[in-house]
Subunit: 802 residues, 2 copies
């Protein structure tokens, strides 16, 4: 048994509801073979820790008589994920088909210093174990930087602490942020699974083998890093008392009980210790919880130059994480502002005399740089300086935290005063989708954030499985949030294949409830007041003002109903909210929309019901690792299209237009934010089914994510992604429903393709194939443009009925 | 136990393969309660027998203290189906959860005289049982008309036989063919389940209740029929010896062993007596077996006037059952013709000097009259006489049987001499889809017959579940057939939802086999002869001549391979057939294509592979009883659209055209057989995916089926069903791929709708709704035509690559 109290058990969950769990004694471990070396590694997603550990297993397996084993535990964050590697080595076959338990590890490595504040990284360590920390601090200062809880655990377990500035070593060796070679060398040095000299030889051989394809320089850099690692490894002196600051609480005490009892412990890594009864009985989790995570994964975050800023809000609209925000407010709102809080006069007649601030959320920004890349306001005298620059977060952290906290408290703008069919003004609306676990620079999440801004607490989302269901419902937290009234979007994910059917069910339910509510209101009309009833029944709610008025009428209605003692009054009271117009959306990726869920999508479109469908089109199965979908463009590489996709991209927009009564828009935020916002607003207002196909750049394309919006623009400029809106309401007046929103292609397809690995890798591996396929892709574009152009020029007769 | 040897057991199938069946003693029945009355009725599908029996159960249940029970056994023929009703009545609760066993029935009724020759209708009868026959013969002649086997059974079991000319009684009472009231009255008279007077009262009450909505006249007619029934019921005198003719064998002795051992017994109704080992181990059943059934369900069949005939072959192309056929042949083929065999000089330069015959299959014709209704050749002096008239079959039966048998023996025309892109000449090709169990006058089967004629033994069909899988694979027989070489279409049905995926699998397999065969042939090129190998590899096989040549080359190749002793030669020998081009089709109804299988259909289209899809579009789920599909037109009634379908028909053709690389055709045989044939030929030749949407009139539309082809024409004339072909090969030359094959609407939609119950029933029940929906349907048509017209006028640039 361990010397520390064993609060968390790594095996088994206590089923205190159905009582199906087996009883077990946490002190009666069977993982006790003293000849087995157990090692646990905390890595940051994509920092190379898992790969290096697999390499380590291979070296030990091949160079010694040891048996080896590895388990790798991932979370599902796309950016800043945590990976925990559990490795065992021993002279006999290893049959421990489970993770390393608390208090059993001989060796623990923490590859990122931020984990020290967030996780109980020492809980696996057994008494006397060796602990390796990657920290920037000198060895003598390491102990004092540890939270008091960890200090106490070091003392209690008499742990041996070692420090290495792996990031510094890697940087100096020319390896950038890749610390895996450095940490691996230190592991072999400290763990002594193999004799020192043999281990070093083996690492060196492994480096030569792994990197020789990348050239002699890379091999030399890695070999140098091994030497520098051993030179830089320092023993950490351990004082006799724990006098550090307590670990900051992840969850403030003022949070609701569920968050304190469930969300907090799961965030801290203790989810397995929660009993089954802690889970919500109907699966409903509170929203607005991603903000609790404060993952602080960026080293550099945007800094605002209020003088240079032209207040276009492009930084905010492209931000995938709602980590840079705009508010417009009265000067009075600045009462009590922190000293460093900056603001500027709002430039624009519609909110004349007001102030504006662009504020970063320093703990939530992922450092993707999209905002800086789209910022059009350059300093003419110093072109590298823009109204938004990336600068190191460390020195600004405390100040920006305080500023952001104050910023959040500034009152939201009156929604009815905002003309939302305008890209800039859309950003004055509060985002109710924030701080998701999507990749840094994600091309999908800006569209979801925009949805949440435009339709706010009227929004319902049925989400297909895929990236958007992962970062959208990465329990225990969710980026879907709520406003100060406690209202916000309702969101759920059923399966991969049934999102459209699931969302159509939302709509049918809303419609049925509204029908019943209207009938009840008609029946009760005289009793609640005919004027009020008529006003409620007549309200169309196509803008924010009408919507707010309807909300007020419903509040009024509720008051009147409360005074009535009839079953009808009770029933109407219970569904009166259905008289407020909802914005019902079905959201998914192209794998869902073009392939797996297409039958249902078509059924929802054909239904004629007021459902809105948003396709986050990355042209590939992103979440599962890059398989070809029917949206994948001709000539692109993908899994199952290893020689380039031979067939044309399926044109789901053209297919939807063939339904006649479907509003269809193809948008790309990076090419036209104005057209994107307009399409979203029109889709919501259109009383039938709507389909928005939204171009979403993606890491799977093989590009520099900071340039994501530029790639979106190139996709439009070359004609691969024409922008259009097809609005059937125009038919009534005899207008052509199709409006082209982008111009004829102005650059060749090849100019777009050459900038993305998905295309140019094929050019390198099979130049002839790539050339042929790209020529066909160009022909696809030319033919499609020819058809679109002539479709948009067709003549129509006014309709007599609709 | 019964007095006759008990050959067939009605409970349990002998599992002699997995030995999972329980042993049982057929003589140890538990269904022995002597107070229970057991009655078995053999009815003809839709003759009202099942409905009348349900009525009978209700009467007995309500008017007596008896407990009642009914089981109804249907086969899956759409026309001429057999229904067997098993009824039990008794003073105690009936717990016999199984059919009435052989030799247990107190009462047996045979509602159609033809069953006497086909089925062992007396096997359920117990000794001394009462048997009621609906026959036209006088009572004294009935016994002599029975097959000898039945005569013997009557004598052995000492059965009491009663005869009624129910058809005559019903006809004279003005009930047409509906014999159910007559037979029901006779059952009550003979079975004595209730006292006679009470029973008659109950029947009369039931008639008044059931028919009062249809008016007083119908009630009176049925009441009169009851009296006439009792008056016409005669006891059949039974001689002492059985001297009739033996029952004709269903299966000729020269048939193969499987047919004799399995197909024959199942056809005779003894399927349950076959052991499991009799079933084909891989589920493959022999084709060309529907011809064994010879169901003879028509009273009147077409008669040809060779003088009047203009030889357009429209009678043959519209025939749903391949029961009227055309051949062109040399005069020498008439050697040994039966005396009455008729022929005429072929009118047409391409087969000058040859003779032609149009021959009916008298046992297989369903009497639907489609052929007569489309026949354009009228006798000017007597307009009701056409080149094809319906005349009673009975007097012509022997002669026409002989003629049809001789006709089948006339050599088939040389396929390479037939220009198949011509409707008339397509009918000179042998149909390999014949005598299906589809409804009389079916609008779907002519398309399948045409497929089988055009692509013959190169045809593979993956069939979705629906009408076409039921009549297509109504085991133990199938209408899919084979030619004199023993070659014919291969056909299979997987599920409702996966036909496109299933058929795409056929295609991928064919393509892969062809790829392997080509590679092997290239490797073996010198050994089999370079000229032969090159000719095989170069062959494109886009017409019958090339196809025949390739077949000959493959025969030659096989000979050469046989002489080679290498593994590659063996392998190529095994897949050499893959070098003959196949015509791969996916077939299903609109429920599959528009709804349930649409995701897969889209996937097959997007694949770019050479699959051909034929949608037999009845605009409703026909097989399951008339549920709305997305193909159902606006304003039509259907299940789930009880107030008329409010939304427009989904335009699957327009959707498919949005794929660009898909050949799409919309056809209606009744509007243009020429365009239909052309579309089929082009779809087969097109090297990518093809979709043919074929208008199929259906009993579910509520029309006189004999006018089916006229309704098809009206659907086209009013613009509801525009004819077109979209051929992407035209793009290469810069031609518009879309060709409109029908003219602008020339009659209003309402003129079409008023002739079909699916529309006009709504006009009767909700005239305002019907008017509004029909006006919207008219608007749909106008807008769609406007778009099609302008699409067909678009300009294109020639392609540089493809």
């Amino acid at each position: 048994g361990a010397a520390t109290p064993k609060r968390h058990f790594t095996i088994g969950i206590d089923d205190d509801v159905a009582h199906s769990s087996l009883r077990w004694d946490p002190d009666e471990s069977i993982d006790t073979d003293p000849d087995v070396v157990r090692a646990v590694f905390f890595g940051l997603g994509s920092d190379g820790t898992v790969g290096a550990n697999k390499q380590t297993i291979k070296i030990i397996g091949e160079c010694t008589d040891h048996h080896v084993q590895g388990y790798f535990v991932y979370d599902s964050k796309k950016a800043g994920a945590v990976t925990i590697s559990h490795l065992r080595f021993g002279p006999r076959p290893i049959r421990s088909a489970y993770l390393i338990e608390d208090g059993r590890a001989d060796f623990v490595a923490v590859h990122n210093a931020r984990f020290l504040e967030r996780y109980e990284v020492l809980r696996h360590a057994k008494p006397g174990a060796t602990v390796l920390l990657n920290v920037e601090w000198p060895a003598r200062e390491v102990f004092q930087h540890l939270p008091r809880e960890l200090q106490q655990e070091v003392l209690d377990k008499r742990l041996e602490l070692w420090a290495i500035d792996a990031s510094g070593v890697a940087e100096r060796a020319g390896l950038g942020r890749r610390i895996n070679t450095v940490m691996q060398a230190c592991f072999f040095e400290l763990s002594r699974v193999m004799p020192r000299a043999e281990a070093l030889d083996a690492i060196r051989r492994s480096i030569r083998k792994s990197y020789h394809k990348r050239g002699a320089q890379v091999v030399e850099q890695n070999l140098a890093a091994v030497d520098a690692a051993l030179a830089g490894l320092e023993s950490v002196p351990i004082p006799t008392t724990a006098d550090g600051s307590p670990r900051p609480s992840l969850v403030a005490d003022d949070h609701d009980e569920f968050v304190r009892r469930v969300t907090g412990p799961i965030l801290a890594g203790h989810g397995d210790a929660l009993p089954v009864s802690a889970m919500p009985i109907d699966g409903t989790f509170p929203t607005g919880t991603a903000r609790l995570e404060k993952r602080r994964i960026a080293d550099r975050v945007p800094e605002w130059d209020r003088e240079l800023c032209i207040q276009c809000a492009k930084c905010a609209i492209v931000c995938p994480h709602a980590a840079i925000r705009v508010k417009v407010f009265d000067a009075s709102a600045l009462d009590g502002a922190p000293a460093g809080f900056e603001s500027a006069e709002f430039r624009g007649s519609e909110h004349a005399g007001m102030l504006t601030t662009i504020q970063v959320a320093p703990d939530d920004c992922t450092g993707c740089e999209l905002c800086v890349h789209v910022c059009p306001a350059k300093d003419k005298s110093e072109p590298r300086h823009k109204a938004i620059d990336m600068t190191p977060v460390e020195p600004r952290l405390a100040r920006e935290r305080e500023n952001f906290e104050f910023f959040l408290g500034i009152p939201e703008i009156d929604r009815t005063a905002v003309q939302v069919d305008n890209a800039r003004d859309s950003q004055l609306l509060e985002p109710l989708f924030e701080f998701s676990g999507a990749c840094a620079g994600c091309g999908e999440t800006p569209y979801l954030k925009l949805l949440s801004q435009l339709f706010g607490d009227r929004l319902l989302v049925a989400n297909a499985t895929g990236c958007s269901s992962i970062y959208g419902g990465n329990l225990p937290t969710t980026p879907w949030s709520k406003n100060r009234d406690g209202r916000g979007p309702a969101w759920s994910n059923s399966l991969f294949e049934d999102a459209a059917e699931f969302g159509l069910g939302f709509r049918l339910t809303l419609d049925e409830q509204a029908k019943i509510a209207r009938r009840l209101l008609e029946e009760l009309s005289r009793m609640v007041g005919k004027d009020l009833a008529d006003a409620i029944l007549a309200s169309e709610q196509y803008d924010e003002a009408e919507y707010r008025e309807q909300r007020a009428r419903i509040d009024d209605l509720r008051l009147k109903l409360r005074a009535l003692d009839t079953p009808e009054a009770r029933r109407l009271e219970s569904i009166a909210d259905a008289l407020v117009r909802k914005s019902s959306w079905i959201v998914g990726g192209d794998g869902w929309a073009y392939d797996i869920g297409f039958g249902g999508l078509d059924h929802a479109l054909a239904s004629g019901r007021d459902v809105n469908i948003l396709v986050l089109d990355t042209e590939v199965y992103s979440n599962t690792g890059g398989q070809m979908s029917k949206s994948t463009p001709r000539a692109a590489l993908a899994k199952f299209a290893a020689a380039g996709k031979p067939t044309a991209k399926k044109d789901i927009g053209m297919i939807a237009m063939a339904h006649d009564h479907v509003y269809v828009a193809q948008v790309a935020l990076g090419a036209s934010d104005k057209q994107t916002v307009r399409a979203f607003v029109e889709a919501d207002r259109y009383p039938g089914p709507s389909l928005i196909i939204a171009y979403s750049h993606c890491i799977a394309h093989g590009l520099h994510m900071a340039d994501g919006m530029l790639h979106q623009k190139l996709a439009v400029d070359c004609g691969h992604w024409p922008l259009y809106r097809y609005d059937p309401t125009r038919l009534a007046a005899g207008e052509n429903p199709l409006q082209l929103d982008s111009r004829a292609p102005k650059i060749p397809f090849q100019r777009f393709a050459e900038r993305e690995s998905r295309f140019h890798m094929l050019t390198r591996s099979r130049p002839e194939t790539a050339k042929r396929l790209q020529a066909l892709a160009q022909q696809d574009i030319d033919e499609r443009w020819n058809v679109l152009r002539q479709m948009a020029a067709m003549e129509y007769q006014p309709e007599e009925i609709r």
